[in-house]
Symmetry: C2
Subunit: 265 residues, 2 copies
C-alpha cells in the first residue's frame, strides 16, 4: 500500500527540501514509485527537480482546494519513477482561501483517500507507493494538512545548536495531532543533516538528538557537503548531479534504512 | 529618534536570528542603545542572548496582545546597552488570539508608538534608539506586525541557491505593505550571509543578489565561519564569544555601514 511521509520541522533551513528531493530520488532509484508534494510557497522542491515556474499551472494549492486530484496535478521529473505536484507562491493564499471551512485541516487527507481509491481503476504505472510531503518552516495550516494526511513524520535536524530548540515543540505538536486529528501519526524517524565531523558542535548536537529521540534517529547521517548545495542550481537532484559524492551515498543509505523500517509496520 | 528595523526573510535558516543578535551587539558596542524583539516562536534570539526559558514570563506575545509595553517586557542581556523582549512557543497562539480583531496587523505598531511617547517621561537610560525585530521564517501575522511597525526591512540572504527563490516574493510583499499598511516601509539593505569564498556557488548567488537589489546590498559580506554557529551553544553573542573571529569583525563593519546609511534618512 501507499505510505505517506511528511518531511517537517518548523526550524528553517535544516534540510527538509534537500531530504524530500534526494530521498525521493534514492527511493525511486531502488525501484519504489514516489510522488513528492511541494507544500512550501517557496517552491524549492519543484525548482530542485527542474520544474520551471511557468509549468506550475496546477499546484498543490489546487489539490488542497479540491479542484484537481493528486494524479492529475503530478508532473514527471528527470528521475524515472518520481513525479512531483509542484508548489509556488499561490500557496500563501491557502489560509485565507480555506478560511473558516470546517474541513480545512483534512483537505489533503481527503485527496490522498481519493487517489488510493483511484489506484484500483488505473494501470500500475499510474500509481505510487511513497508520497513525501515537503513542508514549509512553520506549524501552519499547510503543515497541519500534511500531518493529518500522513502515516508518519520524517524529521530532518541540522547538526547546529538552534536546531535543538524546536525539536521538543515539534514532538509535542505531533503528539497533539495524534491525540486529536490523526490517531496513527508517529515519527518515522529523525535524520541528522549537515553533519560536519570536524566540529565538536556537530557531535554535541548529534548526541543531544540521540538522547532525546533514541532509536528513532536513523543510523545514516547526512554530511555537510558542498555538492549538495550546488545541485539545485543545476535543477537536478544530487544523485543525478554527482552520484558518487558523500551526500548521494548517504541519501541512498537512508532510503535503504527507511525501507527496512517500513517493513516493520 | 528611534529606528525600527525588521530582520525578515521567509526562507528558513538564512541567518535572521544570527544577524539580529550580532548586529544588535555590534550597534550596542559602538554606543547605540538597542532593543531586540524576538518574534519567532522558536525563541532562538532569546536563547542566543542567554535568556533562560524559565525567565521568559513576559514575552513579545504579551506586547502584541497589549498586556504590557515594550519597556516593561524588556530584559537586560550580557551586553551593556542591549535589551531583549524574549520570545517562546506561546507565540504560536498569536494568530488565534488576535483572530478577527480589525487591528491585529497593527498591534506592534501601536506598542512602538506608545513607547516613543513614554520616552519623553523617562530618563535617557530607559530609552533605546534601535529596535531590531527577529522574524519567523514565514509571511504570517507575526511578520506582518513587524513590517507595519518598522521603518525599514533588513534582509539577510544566504549565499546558496534556494535562498534566491524567495527574494522576489519578499520584495513584492514589502511593496504591497508599503502600498497599503505602512507607506514609509522600504528595504534598508540586503546582507549576504554564510558566504564561502572558496565556492563558485557563493560567488554566483552573490552576483545574482547584487544584480537584483543593486546598491541596497551592503558592502559588508558575512563569511561562513564555524565560530558563528558555536556561539549560541554558549548562550553568548559572537562578539562576546570570539571578538577577533571573521564573523565578529564582519558584524562590526555591518553595524558601521548601517549607521552611515541611517544618517542619510
Ligand atoms: N548536507 C548538506 N550539505 C550542504 N548543504 C546542504 C545540505 N543539506 C542542505 N544543504 C543546503 O542548506 C540550505 C538549506 O537546506 P534546505 O533548503 O533543504 O532546508 P529546508 O529545511 O527545506 O529550508 P526551509 O525551512 O526554508 O524550507 C540549502 O541551501 C541546501 O542546499
Ligand atoms: N556566518 C555564519 N557562518 C556559519 N554559520 C552560520 C552563520 N550565520 C548563521 N549560521 C548558522 O546557520 C544556522 C541558521 O542561522 P539562523 O538560525 O540565524 O537563521 P534564521 O534565518 O534565523 O533561521 P529561521 O528561519 O529558522 O529563523 C544557525 O545554526 C546559525 O548558527
Ligand atoms: Mg524547504
Ligand atoms: Mg531565526
Amino acid at each position: 500500500g501507499l505510505r505517506v511521509l511528511a518531511v517537517a520541522n518548523q526550524k528553517g533551513g535544516v534540510g527538509k527540501t534537500t531530504t524530500a528531493i534526494n530521498l525521493g530520488t534514492a527511493l525511486a532509484a531502488i525501484g519504489e514509485k514516489v510522488l513528492i508534494l511541494d507544500l512550501d510557497p517557496q517552491g524549492n522542491a519543484s525548482t530542485g527537480l527542474g520544474i520551471h515556474p511557468d509549468s506550475r499551472t496546477r499546484t498543490s494549492l489546487d489539490v488542497l482546494t479540491g479542484e484537481i486530484g493528486l494524479l492529475e496535478a503530478a508532473l514527471p521529473t528527470a528521475v524515472p519513477g518520481l513525479v512531483i505536484v509542484p508548489g509556488n507562491s499561490d500557496l500563501v493564499g491557502a489560509e485565507s482561501m480555506l478560511g473558516n471551512d470546517a474541513n480545512r485541516a483534512f483537505r489533503l487527507r481527503d485527496a490522498v483517500a481519493k487517489v488510493i481509491s483511484e489506484f484500483r481503476n488505473r494501470p500500475p504505472e499510474d500509481s505510487f507507493n511513497y508520497m513525501l510531503i515537503d513542508c514549509p518552516p512553520s506549524l501552519n495550516l499547510l503543515t497541519l494538512n500534511a500531518m493529518t494526511a500522513s502515516h508518519a513524520v520524517l524529521v530532518p535536524v541540522q547538526c547546529e545548536f538552534f536546531a535543538l530548540e524546536g525539536i521538543s515543540q515539534l514532538k509535542e505538536t505531533i503528539d497533539q495531532i495524534r491525540g486529536t486529528l490523526n490517531p496513527g501519526l508517529d515519527i518515522q524517524g529523525v535524520v541528522l543533516t549537515m553533519h560536519d565531523a570536524r566540529t565538536t558542535l556537530s557531535r554535541e548536537v548529534a548526541d543531544n538528538v540521540r538522547s532525546f529521540f533514541g532509536p528513532k534517529v536513523y543510523e545514516t547521517v547526512i554530511p555537510r557537503n558542498t555538492r549538495v548545495a550546488e545541485a539545485p542550481s543545476h535543477g537536478k537532484p544530487l544523485l543525478l548531479y554527482d552520484f558518487d559524492c558523500a551526500g548521494s551515498q548517504a541519501y541512498i543509505r537512508l532510503a535503504t534504512e527507511i525501507i527496512e523500517r517500513e517493513r516493520q509496520y
